[in-house]
Amino acid sequence: MSATPNGGPVLEIVDLHKSYGGTEVLKGVHLTVNEGEVMCVLGPSGSGKSTMLRCINHLETPTRGYSRVRGELVGYRIKHDKLHELRRRDIARQRTRIGMVFQSFNLFPHLTVMENVMEGPLRVLHRDRSWTRQKALAALTEVGLEAKRDAYPGQLSGGQMQRVAIARALAMEPELILFDEPTSALDPELVGEVLEVMRRLAREGMTMVVVTHEIAFAKNVADAVVFMDDGVVVEQGPPAEVLANPQEPRTRAFLNSVL
């Protein structure tokens, strides 16, 4: 999608920590995602995968550490050798560059499919209406749902809703898209259509971080696979290594349990 020349990684995650009360959910995560790369994050539930994803765009405020998108620090600015929290308004502006797709779709039920996709470019980016309409139609075509543009989310199947959610993220022309277990809430027969759309996005060069339980998707589509457990990255590398020949016993145990 964004065809800017490769000037360093799209996303860097540095020393990310997150605690809720006394429990430490993330214990220092470091990751780097390059232009056009698809990174799949695997791991047992409660391993901190989703929390990590939410810390990237500051839907959750990290306790320590930070993420950078194309070099721009998210949620902070540096002054006198310290990280100063940004105002919520400024963080919101940064989020326009980071798409996100949720497990439970979270489409806006009071808006039609078309309005859902147009909402961001129109109200947040203040693009003009005809441009936005074209962009939204293109995004809906990308996910194969331009025929449903006047439907309300409540009239769609789960797979269709998730594809609209992907179109909503695409219409913002983000630098990367974060996927938080995008197929976990779907009936088994609807998983394929969503993964197919994601596979196409990957082919077209979209930078993606995908928290998922779909091992086959990770094996076929991912450039890098990350295995997380207990708030840390246990193992990472190309899918051929991590999935076919895991070095860590915890990775092996997890893969055995899901395959």
């Binding site: 996100m100 909402e119 947040v124």
Partner: protein, 316 residues
């Protein structure tokens, strides 16, 4: 129909021609009996209204459209509209403050609601009416510094002012709780999705949360409007002749309380009926995009909604 024998697992389904196709619907004789009883009671009631001369329907008709009553009705309507407008605007503000991240806002809103819900409306009305006893004149400015004199309190806060302040500020406390409940009813994921496309807090509220919350807020607010219509009669204690007080003023002179109270009730019922119809339209509007099973109050409007929804879904 075919599912009936499919469910008898294990046994061989009988051939289709062994099962008669004609279905006799279940009858509900109890409904006819209760309907007859109720119709009978209704007839007796109406007959009473006609036969009993003490209802004095001639007096009722005489005063139904009398200028004094109509002016009272007008005042009731104006008070209801203004007090509800204050209640809804201030209530929305209070609800947003109550849910704010800012602890100062939260506390301030909490104290307001605590006070105005915790004291009787009647007392609040009398209090505003007698504000002059505490502060004979109103001055806007810095405490013990320069200020602009607004004049005598009684002139600034007239009877109308006291009535509007009393009803409006009290209503705001109740509306705040209704609106807060509505805002809380919207799924957290909606806020996260809106934030993920870069919406600011105010945009999230205006575009995503409030429109969905209204679906939950409208029905109890309709209730509040109907309530307010009648609570306005409390302002008779500060001598503002709204509908009920106008009727009372007439019957203290002609000694015909029953027909005049009936006149007042007729108008209250008429306005309430109109409000109910309006509420139905609002509920349908804010229920769009939601399945009929969870849209608004069950009953009255659901059949209409259901018909509209099936029309919509046939188009997909």
């Amino acid at each position: 129909m075919s599912t009936v024998h499919d469910q008898r697992t294990g046994s061989v389904p009988p051939r289709a021609d062994e099962i008669p196709t004609e279905v006799v619907r279940l009858r509900y004789p109890g409904r006819w009996v209760t309907a007859c009883v109720l119709v009978l009671l209704g007839v007796l009631l109406v007959q009473q209204l006609i036969v009993n001369k003490r209802f004095q329907w001639d007096v009722f008709w005489q005063y139904l459209f009398s200028p004094q009553i109509l002016v009272g009705l007008q005042r009731t309507l104006i008070l209801t509209v203004i007090a509800m407008a204050i209640g809804i605007v201030l209530g929305t503000l209070l609800a947003i403050m109550r849910l704010s991240r800012n602890p100062v806002m939260r506390t301030a809103s909490g104290l307001y609601i605590w006070f105005f819900r915790g004291t009787p409306l009647l007392v609040q009305l009398i209090f505003w009416y007698n504000l002059a006893a505490l502060y004979p004149s109103l001055v806007v400015g810095i405490p013990s510094g320069p200020g602009i004199d607004l004049g005598a309190t009684n002139l600034v806060i007239s009877t109308w002012g006291a009535a509007i302040l009393g009803l409006g500020l009290n209503e705001a406390a109740y509306m705040a709780e209704i609106i807060r409940g509505g805002l809380l009813s919207v799924d957290r994921g909606q806020v996260q999705a809106a934030e993920s496309i870069g919406m600011t807090d105010s945009l999230v509220l205006r575009r995503i949360v409030l429109p969905q919350a209204l679906r939950v807020i409208v029905p109890p607010t309709g209730n509040q409007v109907v309530g307010m219509l009648k609570y306005t009669s409390l302002v008779s204690v500060i001598a503002l002749p709204e509908l009920l007080y106008s009727a009372q003023l007439i019957y203290t002179q002609n000694f015909q309380p029953i027909p005049l109270l009936l006149v007042a009730c007729f108008w209250y019922l008429l306005v309430t009926s109109l409000l109910t119809i309006g509420q139905g339209f609002l509920e349908r509007h804010y229920g769009r995009g939601f399945k009929r099973t969870d849209a608004g109050t069950p009953g009255r409007w659901n059949r209409l909604q259901a018909r509209l929804k099936t029309k919509e879904s046939m188009g997909r």
